[in-house]
């Protein structure tokens, strides 16, 4: 049995050597992998992201989910694991920067490759946004100031209602 396996392994090996060129081309073909855009900045000199990159690739959702509940319910607004900071650093603030619907957007570049759909950006901003009053606590004032300005749309909701008191 073992001999048989060794033989078949040898055959496979031989085949791959014979067909060496296409096999090597396939193994090294990066065009099939997602093209993930570079971040705007590094977290520190020694570390690219807020945790080691391999950890972030695998578990970023855990960090964001934890921070989500901490911020929403307990009012803890540390910036390290906030989704807003992810976007501020990983997405360009150029007006023509790719939106989340595009494969060139940081989040979607990988999520579309992995066929994992996310609904974060149905509500959350998918790019750095310049607000009239930038957060005082923001550690990324630079990117906040350079960010895209959104077109103001007049709000036509009913501003007044009249109640008559008989």
């Amino acid at each position: 049995m073992q001999n048989l396996m060794q033989t078949s392994l040898r055959i496979l090996l031989a085949l791959s050597v014979v067909a060496g060129l296409p096999a090597a081309a396939w193994a090294g073909d990066d065009s099939l992998l997602p093209v993930v855009p570079q971040a705007q900045d590094r977290y520190s000199k020694t570390q690219g992201c807020v945790e080691p990159t391999t950890e972030m690739r695998k578990n970023h959702m855990e960090y964001i989910l934890h921070q989500r509940d901490e911020t929403m319910h307990r009012g803890i607004r540390t910036r390290q694991y906030s989704l807003e900071q992810c976007i501020n650093c990983h997405v360009s603030d150029a007006p023509d920067a790719p939106r989340v619907s595009s494969d060139e957007h940081f989040c979607n570049s990988c999520h579309s490759y992995a066929a994992v759909s996310i609904d974060c950006f149905q509500c959350h901003a998918d790019r750095p946004v310049k607000t009239p009053n930038p957060h005082a606590l923001s550690g990324h004032a630079k990117s906040a100031n350079q960010a895209a300005v959104l077109p103001a749309e007049p709000h036509q909701a009913l501003a007044t209602e009249v109640i008559s008191n008989d």
């Binding site: 989500r68 901490e70 929403m72 319910h73 307990r74 009012g75 803890i76 607004r77 540390t78 910036r79 807003e84 976007i87 149905q122 509500c123 959350h124 901003a125 750095p128 946004v129 607000t131 009239p132 009053n133 957060h135 005082a136 606590l137 959104l150 103001a152 749309e153 007049p154 709000h155 036509q156 909701a157 009913l158 501003a159 007044t160 209602e161 009249v162 109640i163 008559s164 008191n165 008989d166």
Partner: protein
């Protein structure tokens, strides 16, 4: 005024904790101290020591002025579709008219941030909740859009988002299929600032709105509440609202 009073609570605690550590250092730590003391530290959870509230003086609220509404819409990126019945509305102006005397009054109506919020009672998922410091919020991550809270709220304070939105602001995530309402500008309050409507009202020199910590006897709102008579809207419901009115 109110701002300073609120800040003082945190500043005192902060100073107490760090006085010794800071003592030996000079300029740079001083600047740091000043900036951080503007608000509760970002890594500290809210507590029930604070209860945020608002006092609205209807005598000072100008008829026809909608600055509070406009500033709220701008602050949170609330945009409409020209359909007033369903467009999101976190604060609205209500005009009252006494038919007998013809006397008219104008007041802003927003989420009253009740101590016993009916919206929280009826929420089947726990999405509608009250933060420890008294701010009533919707956790849209777990809101299923059933709109029970909209039915339960006596103040019609909540809106449902019927259509997909784009270009929301980072500090005000909003999305289709969820309910939303006034957050007391929680993102600003957490930074030691006042809500956008109060800021706009004060900027226009109407000064009809005061925001602050009701639990702090030294805050402007607490002092005004102590000094003047004020009313809760539908006080009969015993909700102990965080928003109080003078002059109605």
């Amino acid at each position: 005024m109110t701002d300073n009073a609120n800040i003082d609570t945190y500043r005192r605690r902060f100073l107490g904790n760090t006085a010794t550590a800071i003592a030996g250092l000079s300029v740079a730590p001083g600047v740091f101290l000043h900036e951080v003391a503007q608000a509760r530290p970002a890594d500290e959870a809210v507590t029930s020591d604070v209860r945020w509230g608002m006092l609205i003086d209807t005598n000072k609220c100008a008829n026809g002025c909608t600055d509070c509404v406009t500033s709220c819409n701008d602050e949170h990126g609330l945009t409409g579709h020209g359909r007033p019945e369903t467009d999101a509305q976190w604060i609205r102006k209500v005009d009252l008219r006494d038919k007998q005397t013809g006397h008219t009054q104008s007041l802003p109506l927003l989420c009253q941030h009740c101590e016993h919020p009916p919206c929280v009672d009826v929420c089947p998922t726990g999405a509608s909740f009250k933060r420890a410091d008294g701010i009533v919020l919707v956790d849209k991550h777990i809101c299923i859009g059933c709109r029970y809270c909209m039915m339960a709220c006596p103040y019609k304070a909540r809106s449902f988002i019927h259509e997909a939105l784009q270009d929301q602001l980072p500090h005000a995530p909003r999305g289709k299929g969820t309910v939303e309402s006034c957050t007391f500008c929680v993102h600003r309050v957490d930074e030691g600032r006042t809500p956008a409507c109060v800021e706009a009202c004060t900027a226009e020199n109407h000064n009809a709105m005061v925001f602050g910590d009701i639990n702090d006897p030294d805050s402007e709102i607490a002092m005004q509440l102590k000094q003047h008579s004020s009313r809760q809207i539908r006080a009969d419901l015993n909700l102990n609202t965080g928003v109080r009115y003078r002059g109605i």
